[in-house]
Amino acid sequence: MTDTGLTGNDSLILPPLAGPGRRATARKAALALSALVLAGLIGMAIFAPLAAPYDPMEINLEERLAPISSRHWLGTDHLGRDVLSRLIWGARASMGSVVVIAGLIMATGFITGAFSGYIGGRTDSVIMRVCEAFMTFPTFILALFLIGVLGTGLTNVILAIVLTHWAWYARIIRGMVMNLKNRDFILAARVAGGGPVKIFLRHIAPPVLAQLVILASLDLGHMMLHVSGLSFLGLGIQPPTPEWGCMINDARQQIWTNPELAIIPGVMIFLTVLAFNIPGDILRDKLDPTLVERE
């Protein structure tokens, strides 16, 4: 039988095809697994001081490049620091920065986007022109430039990534707000005599914020790769603060003798991004097929 599909107009109304198949089970399993990984990572980040067996920055030159043992479960690095402890604290730096970045992007994107969309008029067009200018740059290239301007370091990386991403969010939020603004129920509320601020807070902000959170969660993995990539180049989080990208960079010189020093933090980044991406992807499939892949 040929694989055929019918859509809409052909008056063939069928219940959705996605039954309780194997695919859905696999999906659920993947979702559960990534939730587990994320929970673990968040736990690690929050309870790093308790979970880490050693001080991640404590140098012990007697024990440099120690192999995996009961004392050091993942061995030690070139300065004798416990790798496991650094990994655990690294979760804090990596996850923490991503969360801060996402929060800041949402805040700036929401404020400018909502302002622009709700007020409209000249303000709107000015803000949108600024957004367009920012969106013209390739994001990583702009982030590099910003770090060149601001200097290296975690704060500047956060700032750079926020500055490179906010415009995309502002644009989307502006669209949502403008769309909602002209809906009947908003117009009705306006006719009923609600003030613009009140209408905004009661009717427009909640749905937009909900979508915004989903949107940002789709991007978390991507942001994480940005942060670790910049740290790897030596432009991001500065040593001795443990961060995974940084740890890989530090460990490059041990490629012959202790390649696991670079492999393990890489696995951590990989798992984290994967755990961000899987639910994001499933969410995206469920929500809106028109959410075009950016970059």
């Binding site: 920055m57 404590e58 140098i59 030159l61 290296t152 030596g234 500065q238 010189q253 041990q254 012959w256």
Partner: protein, 527 residues
């Protein structure tokens, strides 16, 4: 599907074409392949960055040069005479020298070079001799005379430096003679000439067939551009380069590993400078002599050298290594003794309250800033180790690893307690470094600024540079360096030694040069 195959075929073809366009074959025959973090630059002998010093030394020669024992020997000048008052220097030039472009070398050419350098004297102000030169002239075809306005003993040492007093072919000068804006071609008298610059890829040197001395054994030196140490080590490992030479070319770890690799020769040079930290005598707790001394005592250099440099670098007890001229002074080292350090801090009033980790005096915690350039891995490791060691006696070091700009500004403003401040190595030590202690924009000046005897030190520095009597000079150096040592202005950690790694199967007669930035390629040979 057929379409797909056609597409794939077209794709592979494009791919192949693109690849072949950029393919390049490096001829390894009779060639030493070295690497450097960037291109060697336009090789202007009279200017600095981006010209690489080792490459300037390959192409250009000075009138006199530094010998391995630290004394001055002949180069383009066969011999020289110094007047008794130390003001007049007469150089008798070699007669058999030609520049690589065929131009003859003579006193006119030397005068032309001096004119160009002195025309840009402001740029060379850091170098003592430029402030002393009153005049120069070609007194004969092969006789060049230099006149100083006041005696300056390191005149010959300064002239031997890799830059700026090295000789460029008169034909290579720009028409107005001002080399500070650029030169026509990099033509010198040295054993090598620059044959090709491939920006971002390599620089190719060829043997100068007109060289007056013994000609280079190898016909070519190819300097590949490899900015980072890990890639360089990989390239050596895979046989893409023949030689690793110098400081910072590879990490200590890599050197240590290569040292244990069969068929690889990994050698360490004698001291070529000192890794030291300058302690600010004018700021905070560091202004107290006892605190500075305690810092010297609490530092376990042996552990630091073993941990950070894997034991590759020799321990330093003084700012200058004893091998440096005038510096073999038998100063008493600050031995590693944390109990003594603790006692000194106690005496100074910095007490460790029970249960506390940081000492305090009058409610103030004993915290000092340790500044270094953040993206230098070795400096970072050093700072981290010293921090850990200081922490054990209740002295908290706050690591300030910054970008070079901020670091530079801190040096200038004296905005540091402790700052990592490596010395420059031969041929700059001790005279050029000591003379820079007079300049307010240097970390040394700022670090010493709090000393009561700073004026005295400065006076002696001026005196030592002017003295013509070697014995007096020795005594003055002893005074200066003893004062600095006893005041514990510096925290010497280890002496910088150069690394040289090669495969004897491929490279022979490899040896270290007398200066930090001189690689005697002409003596190397390949198989």
């Amino acid at each position: 599907m057929r379409l797909l195959y056609a597409f794939m075929a077209a794709w592979c073809l494009t791919f192949g074409l693109a690849g072949s366009l950029f393919a390049q074959n490096i001829d390894r025959e009779d060639t030493i392949i070295f690497s450097c973090l960037s291109n060697v630059g336009p090789l202007n002998p009279h200017l600095y960055s981006p010209n690489q010093m080792f490459a300037q030394s390959m192409v250009y020669e000075p009138l006199v040069k530094l010998k391995p024992d630290g004394s001055i020997g002949p180069a383009l000048a066969e011999k020289w005479a110094i007047s008794d008052d130390g003001l007049h220097y007469t150089f008798y030039l070699r007669r058999d020298v030609r520049f690589s472009d065929g131009e003859p070398f003579n006193a006119e050419a030397v005068a032309k070079n001096f004119e160009a350098v002195m025309g840009n004297a402001e740029r060379h102000k850091w170098l003592g001799v430029t402030g002393k030169i009153a005049g120069f002239e070609a007194v004969g075809p092969y006789e060049f005379k230099l006149t100083l306005n006041s005696p300056y003993y390191p005149c010959l040492e300064d002239l031997s430096l890799p830059r700026p007093f090295r000789m460029l072919s008169p034909a290579a000068f720009p028409d107005d003679g001002d080399t500070s804006k650029g030169i026509k071609t990099p033509a010198g008298t040295g054993p090598w000439r620059l044959a090709k610059i491939a920006l971002g890829e390599y620089d190719l040197f060829e043997r100068n067939e007109l060289y007056w001395g013994e000609k280079a054994k190898v016909s070519k030196v190819l300097v590949s551009v490899i900015p980072d140490p890990v890639s360089r080590a990989l390239a050596f490992e895979t046989g893409e380069i023949d030689l690793i030479y110098g400081l910072g070319q590879i990490n200590f770890d890599t050197f240590d590993r290569l040292r244990q690799t069969p068929k690889v020769s990994a050698e360490i040079s004698g001291p070529m400078g000192t890794m030291a930290a300058a302690i600010n005598t004018a700021k905070g707790p560091a202004a107290e002599l006892k605190v500075r001394k305690a810092l010297n005592h609490l530092t376990d250099k042996a552990a630091l050298i073993k941990g950070v440099t894997l034991g590759t670098q020799p321990r330093a007890e003084t700012l200058f290594a004893p091998e440096v001229p005038y510096c073999d002074l038998n100063l008493r080292p600050y031995e590693y003794d944390s109990a003594k350090a603790a006692a000194l801090l106690d005496e100074a009033g910095w007490k460790l309250a029970p249960g506390q980790k940081i000492r305090e005096k009058n409610g103030q915690p004993l915290v000092m800033d340790f500044c270094f350039v953040g993206n230098n891995a070795a400096h970072k490791a050093i700072a981290e180790v010293v921090q850990a060691q200081a922490g054990r006696v209740g002295l908290a070091l706050n690591l300030v690893g910054e970008e070079e700009d901020s670091f530079y500004r801190r040096q200038k403003d004296g905005d540091f307690h402790i700052i990592l401040n490596p010395t420059w190595g031969p041929p700059f030590e001790p005279h050029a470094l000591v003379s820079s202690m007079l300049l307010p924009a240097h970390a040394d000046f700022m670090a010493q600024a709090g000393l009561t005897m700073k004026a005295d030190i400065d006076a002696r520095i001026n005196e030592v540079l002017a003295t013509t009597d070697k014995a007096v000079r020795q005594k003055l150096y002893r005074d200066i360096l003893t004062m600095l040592h006893e005041q514990a202005v510096y925290l010497p950690l280890f002496h910088d030694a150069l690394f040289m790694v090669y495969r004897p199967e491929r490279l022979q007669n490899a040896r270290f040069g007398a200066e930090r930035s001189y690689i005697p390629f002409e003596e190397f040979s390949v198989k």
